[in-house]
């Protein structure tokens, strides 16, 4: 199935990768449960991630993270630190929790 027009939600993508980092390789049904996604939605993301070389699926159906996948998660975290952490917001905007 082509994933050419598929635009992943970065939050969902990061959740899948994080689940694989925390739990190691796992079956798709387990991964769907851990990452809180429906099976169909997870499948769409996995197709896209396989195409990008972020995950691989072995003969037993276990999904595992590739080196590229782990690197992608690190890049996402680094991006957040670099861009969100460096937002130049005026002191008048107060970081008060609700």
């Amino acid at each position: 199935m082509s994933t050419e027009n598929f635009k992943p939600n970065l939050y969902v993508l990061a959740r899948i990768i994080k689940a694989l980092i925390d739990n190691g390789a796992m079956k798709r049904t387990n991964l769907a449960q851990v990452s809180g996604l429906s099976y169909d939605k997870l499948q769409k993301y996995l197709n896209w991630m396989i195409e990008k070389g972020l995950v691989s699926i072995d003969g037993d159906g276990h999904v595992s993270l590739t080196r590229e996948g782990a690197k992608t998660y690190d890049e996402l975290v680094q991006w957040i630190i670099k861009y969100v952490g460096n937002l130049r917001l005026d002191k008048r905007w107060r970081p008060r929790p609700t």
Partner: protein
């Protein structure tokens, strides 16, 4: 998660809530204008009808015009202040950000994904452009309230000292009311100008972050 990232996200929320508060007040202005105009027309209409029907028969109806004057003066003041005060309170919006932030970096991504960037940019831009209107209305309300006290006091003082109450005296009382209003609200005015300045830089930061986020998505 790094505390500076969480702090920036919470600062961003405060900024966006301020933007919503300003926009809500701006949205309220049209409604206020319509209500004030309707009340003014209705009051004048009813008073005129009463005057033409019974004005010559009951000369004491003269007093009605004082009441009409009070309504026309106080109703817009009180109604505008109340409606704007109510509209300024932003509730619920972005409140789930606290929960999302507990997820760490994932939560920041969830927040960024949940933002309607075009809408946010539009709202910040609108708040920045139209904020001076709110500033002017706020000052006008103060001036109107002060005129109640300043105009009679100034007129009495002029009458006592120079035995005159004419147009320059009335202009003088307005000028005095403006000066007192500015003196009382000076900190507030400065603060609002600073907010205006901050909104401008906020707009640029949001554009920059959105641009970088789009690049990350692709």
């Amino acid at each position: 998660m790094r505390s500076d990232v969480a702090e920036k996200v919470l600062r961003l929320r405060d900024a966006l809530e301020t933007v919503e508060s300003i926009n809500n007040q701006l949205d309220e202005l049209r409604k206020i204008f319509i209500v004030v105009l309707t009340v003014a027309v209705a009051t004048l209409g009813i008073a005129s009808i009463l005057w033409y029907m019974w004005g010559t028969t009951y000369p004491q109806l003269h007093g009605m015009w004082v009441f009409v004057g009070l309504v026309l003066f106080f109703f817009p003041l009180l109604y505008t202040a109340r409606r704007l005060g109510k509209a300024a309170k932003v509730k619920g919006l972005y409140q789930d950000w606290d929960d999302k932030l507990r997820e760490g970096e994932l939560g920041v991504l969830a927040i960024l994904e949940s933002l309607d960037w075009d809408y946010v940019e539009y709202r910040v831009n609108r708040a920045k452009t139209l904020y001076p209107i709110l500033l002017i209305i706020d000052e006008a309300l103060w001036i109107a309230v002060l005129l109640i006290f300043v105009a009679p006091a100034y007129a009495i003082l002029n009458n006592l000292l120079f035995r005159t109450i004419d147009t320059p005296v009335l202009v003088g009382s307005v000028v005095l009311a403006v000066a007192i209003a500015l003196a009382i609200t000076w900190d507030k005015v400065v603060n609002k100008f600073k907010t205006l300045w901050s909104l401008d830089s906020l707009l640029w930061e949001i554009r920059w972050l959105y641009h970088e986020y789009r690049k990350l998505q692709t």
